[in-house]
Amino acid sequence: MANNAVVQVSGVSKSFPLEKNNVRVLDNVSLTVNRGDFLSIMGPSGSGKSTLLYLIGGLDKVCAGQILLNGKNIWDMNDRGQSVMRRREVGLVFQFYNLIPNLNVVDNILMPAILDGKKPKSLKKDLDVILDITGLADRKKHIPCELSGGQQQRVAIARALITNPDVILADEPIGNLDSAAGTQVLKLLQRVNSEKKKTIIMVTHNIEATAYGNRVINIKDGKIIESA
């Protein structure tokens, strides 16, 4: 394993049961993502790109192969270990933001840290920085339904950053946004990548979005067909 590798996917396969058959979504996929990479994963619908992202994030189990995150196999860990890993080492951003609707911006952002046992007061400095980066300083007390789609996605990114993880996993982060908001979000991710040195793995349909990253792979029928 290369010392610089943050994520190492080796021979991973994933199938889902569909009626009486199994549908193979990922077929023997191998991939290495190095620290500081901004990797864009592209592919048509149903190609398995989001599944790969969720497997890296430990949200689902592989059928074959292994995934190492910072050299540790996620599926060697118990539920608590996986949860701690998701809090500290991975930040997840979804297409539909997936914020907790009844919590305000600050509470949504702080959620992973609170779950990690950190006292909200001790996070004030980090929170201010993140709010500044994401441009949400004036929206602290708002709840998600009071924000635009772009703002909600920025809250999701801020939440992904609060525990200072190594990797940000973004699943179609601009899929639900207009182009202006999408550009803002992509610029933010780029900034996070360049300034905070976070590794970003982004699943996208949008070829223009890949321009913000430094690496692109294409997946089709569960296999990586092109890597650049």
Partner: protein
């Protein structure tokens, strides 16, 4: 058709939820059914009791100076000859009614009411239902008798046996038992036991000369009974002609008996409605994706609404049928537990007709349609775009000031509801206000829920680590409508149950407290035809220290109130109030002593409050169809007879009320059992009834408490509906929040943390539910004495028993532990990706 199939398939898949909805509708409908049946059954019972002797006839005629059922030794006969000249009579039947002493093989002499008549007449207007018949019944004449099954079983008699009887001239008649009858018709209630003998035997024994002493008359036109009564009264000026059934009294009895159930039903139905609303909310939200799909392919909004409403209607009709079945079970329980308490031990059959059943099923359907209307309208207003995108739940931030105003207003309503009824004069108005205030107390408590939980959230604050789960749990409860619904259900059901339990206990304790020391005698007895001579003889019995005799008229009609006095007493002087203790001042004492100075009456303080009567007011009493005007000269507090009684002088009750003998005799004796035995020996064969005060109090107390036992059962049913609702909402909240929970898991919440969140939610719900339900119960209990003031003459003293509150707390904890367990077991199986992507 495809849409209906889809809906039915969905219901099949959600078996448990469908069952919970059906259970809620069914239970609410069942109580409606039971209350409906109960009112009708009690009215029928009251009429059946009134028709015990009169059967299907319309009028009853006796000699004015004879009493109907407690007779004197000297009978007065009436010739029916003149009736032949009266038009409008379908038929009439004469009977000879008197008392006999029977000597069963197994024990003491017994007193028996004897009815002598022709068998054909009984068959015609008051048929006897036989449990067993003897061939001797084919020729019902001579020394033959028909007894009740209860009497036969008690004394080991069967048809064909011989029973010795002393009746008039026939001092040692050997009566052949030719029939054993069921407890209906004439044998509905036996006090004392009843025997039917052939007319020729009674005529010979009483030397009646072929004349009856009671005549039952059936009108040929039931609309002309009043006229017929007047015609007969004109021909028989010395006779008392009475209606066979007093419809007003029957309706009054039925209304009074069924009212507590009707009030309790309101709470249960409101809860059922609440559950129907929440259930359909969930059912429709779950089905939104399919509804969206149907809409996109061209199904109109109106059609979708109609489909949803037809589904609700299907549920309602099924729930209605289920409710009928449950209602029948409830009626059987009520019939077994409650009705004997109000019917003197007589069982009652609930006649369920098709109209009753249809009405109940329609009620179930209406309840469900009304309940489903809110979610159906809500769903129909969601734009198609939002349905397709799954963007349905709008979390709106409530203004803090609005929440504070809601809480403050609720607190004010709560406080006002607790205090207002106490300022209203006892009566129907105060009763209605008290019931409204009780409902308002519950409503205010429900509105306070969010505020209380927010307060707990502020106190706990945003914490990390172990407390993080608690903080998240509190936030979830505050903002999730389904979780709030659980708190609401707990508040409604537990407050009602605790209220009923404490209320019942308080009534019981108050009743005991009042009765203890109120009756100042050792035993009471009824002696046939007892007058002053008998009273003196009783006083001379060995072991008897002192005696008191008084007269009574039961169910005395008072035209001034258009109501009835349960008992009108005729008393000699203030000595009565030495035996039935009550405090009164010198003015009242003077009024008691002056009862005989004209037509004066003393009423109870309960009646004084109810009808707003003052001293000097005039009250009309109707005896045997004639009105007598009495002047109210005082008021006394009396816990007897539900506080609905009055006192006139013995002289007036004798002259106006035509009472000849003492109705009851009270005895004080140091050695009660011995004195009772001596009394029985002294008045051999003339003692109709004898009972110690302890037994009497125990019996009346038990009968009284049966009402509250059934009311408690209503509250328990409300709780069962509440529990069904709690689990329904637990499922609902889980489904509604599945995505949220998955998001939390995706950002690092471990399974154990999620379990702690679920447990915290359960704790917050349990704590807030307990606090508010106890507050609501306490609020309602503070109003309860005002409500009872209308129905009961005593001031209710509320007994706050910690055990009841403790049991309620344990119940809430058990429910929420189970609900938390269900939620936790579901979350452990939850797939994060599926929940995030597809929910």
């Amino acid at each position: 058709m495809i849409i209906y199939k889809h809906i039915l398939r969905n219901l099949g898949k959600k078996k448990l939820r469908s069952l919970l909805v059906l259970l809620s509708i069914g239970l609410s409908t069942a109580l409606f059914f039971a209350t409906l049946g109960l009112g009708a059954a009690i009215e029928r019972l009251a009429i059946a009791q009134m028709r015990q002797f009169t059967g299907s006839t319309d009028l009853i005629m006796v000699n004015r100076y004879d009493e109907l059922y407690v007779t004197t030794d000297s009978l007065l006969y009436i010739s029916p000859e003149s009736l032949k000249a009266v038009t409008g009579i379908s038929y009439y039947a004469g009977q000879l009614q008197h008392y006999a002493t029977v000597i069963p093989a197994d024990g003491d002499r017994l007193y028996m009411q004897i009815i002598g008549g022709d068998f054909a007449d009984f068959e015609r207007f008051n048929p006897i239902v036989f449990a067993d018949r003897h061939e001797g019944l084919n020729d019902f004449s001579g020394d033959k008798i028909i007894i009740s099954r209860a009497f036969a079983e008690k004394h080991n008699y069967k048809t064909g046996d011989i029973m010795e009887m002393h009746f008039g001239k026939r001092t040692h008649a050997q009566m052949l038992i030719v029939g054993v009858a069921e407890s209906t018709g004439i044998f509905l209630m036996e006090l004392p036991d009843i025997g039917i003998v052939p007319m020729d035997f009674a005529n010979e024994a009483l030397n009646a000369g072929g004349l009856p002493n009671v005549i039952y008359i059936a009108a040929s036109d039931k609309n002309q009974i009043d006229k017929l009564k007047q015609d007969i009264e004109a021909i028989y000026p010395r006779a008392a002609v009475e209606y066979a059934v007093n419809e007003l009294l029957a309706a009054s009895r039925a209304n009074t008996a069924a009212m507590p159930f009707a009030v309790s039903s309101i709470f249960v139905v409101v809860m059922g409605l609440f559950i129907v609303i929440t259930s359909f909310n969930l059912i429709f939200i779950e089905r939104l994706p399919s509804l969206g799909a149907f809409r996109t392919v061209g199904c109109t909004k109106i059609r979708m609404t109609m489909i949803n409403l037809s589904e609700a209607l299907t549920f309602g009709l099924l729930g209605g049928v289920f409710g009928c079945l449950l209602g029948l079970a409830a009626l059987n329980i009520i019939g077994g537990v409650y009705v004997p308490g109000v019917s003197g031990g007589v069982g009652v059959t609930f006649q369920i007709n098709s109209i009753h059943l249809i009405f109940t099923v329609l009620f179930g359907a209406a309840l469900t349609l009304i309940g489903a209307l809110v979610p159906v309208i809500k769903i129909s207003r969601i734009p198609l775009r939002n349905i397709i995108l799954g963007d349905i739940i709008k979390h709106k931030k409530r203004e803090a000031s609005r929440s504070v105003i809601t809480c403050a207003l609720s607190a004010v309503v709560f406080a006002m509801s607790v205090h207002t009824p106490h300022f209203i004069k006892p009566g129907l108005t105060s009763f209605i206000v008290a019931v409204i205030c009780m409902v308002l107390i519950i409503v205010a408590s429900i509105l306070l829920i969010q505020g209380v939980i927010k307060l707990i959230a502020i106190l706990i604050g945003r914490r990390a680590g172990t407390f993080a789960a608690l903080w998240i749990g509190i936030k979830n409860v505050t903002d999730n409508s389904k979780l709030l619904d659980i708190v609401r259900l707990i508040t409604i059901s537990v407050s009602c149950t605790v209220f009923m339990a404490v209320f019942t206990l308080s009534v019981s304790n108050t009743a005991r407290e009042i009765n203890t020391g109120f009756f100042n005698y050792d035993y009471m007895l009824i002696i046939r035809g007892a007058r002053q001579d008998e009273l003196d003889r009783l006083r001379a019995v060995e072991g008897v220290d002192d005696t008191l005799g008084y007269y009574t008229v039961f169910n005395q009609y008072v035209p001034s109130f258009n109501s009835f006095l349960s008992v009108l007493y005729g008393i000699e002087d203030e000595k009565y109030f030495d035996y039935v203790k009550t405090d009164f001042d010198n003015n009242t004492l003077a009024a008691i002593r002056g009862l005989d100075n004209g037509r004066n009456i003393i009423l109870t303080t309960h009646l004084q409050r109810l009808f707003d009567i003052n001293i000097g007011d005039e009250v009309t009493l109707n005896f045997y169809g004639e009105d007598y005007v009495y002047t109210v000269t005082g008021f006394v507090h009396s816990p007897n007879d539900g506080g609905v009684s009055g006192f006139i002088s013995a002289g007036n009750i004798k002259s106006d009320g035509r009472q000849i003998s003492f109705s009851r005799l009270y005895v004080r004796a140091a050695e009660t059992p011995q004195a009772m035995a001596n009394t029985r020996a002294e008045f051999l064969g003339r003692v109709l009834f004898m009972e110690t005060i302890d037994d009497l109090l125990e019996e009346s107390y038990n009968a009284f408490m049966r009402i509250f036992d059934v009311l408690t059962a209503y509250a328990v049913l409300a709780t069962i509906i509440g529990v069904a609702g709690i689990f329904n909402n637990t499922f609902a909240s889980f489904i509604e929040r599945k995505r949220e929970l998955a998001v939390m898991r995706s950002v690092g919440m471990s399974k154990s943390q999620l379990r702690r969140v679920m447990a915290s939610e359960a704790v917050v719900i349990a704590v807030s539910g307990t606090l508010l339900s106890f507050a609501a119960a306490a609020g309602m209990l503070s109003v309860a004495p005002v409500m009872m003031g209308f129905m009961w003459h005593e001031k209710l003293i509320i007994t706050y028993n910690p055990a009841i509150f403790g049991a309620a707390m344990l119940f809430i904890m058990a429910c929420m532990s189970l609900a938390a367990f269900v939620s936790i077991s579901r979350t452990s199986k939850m797939s994060i990706i599926e929940a995030i992507k597809y929910e």
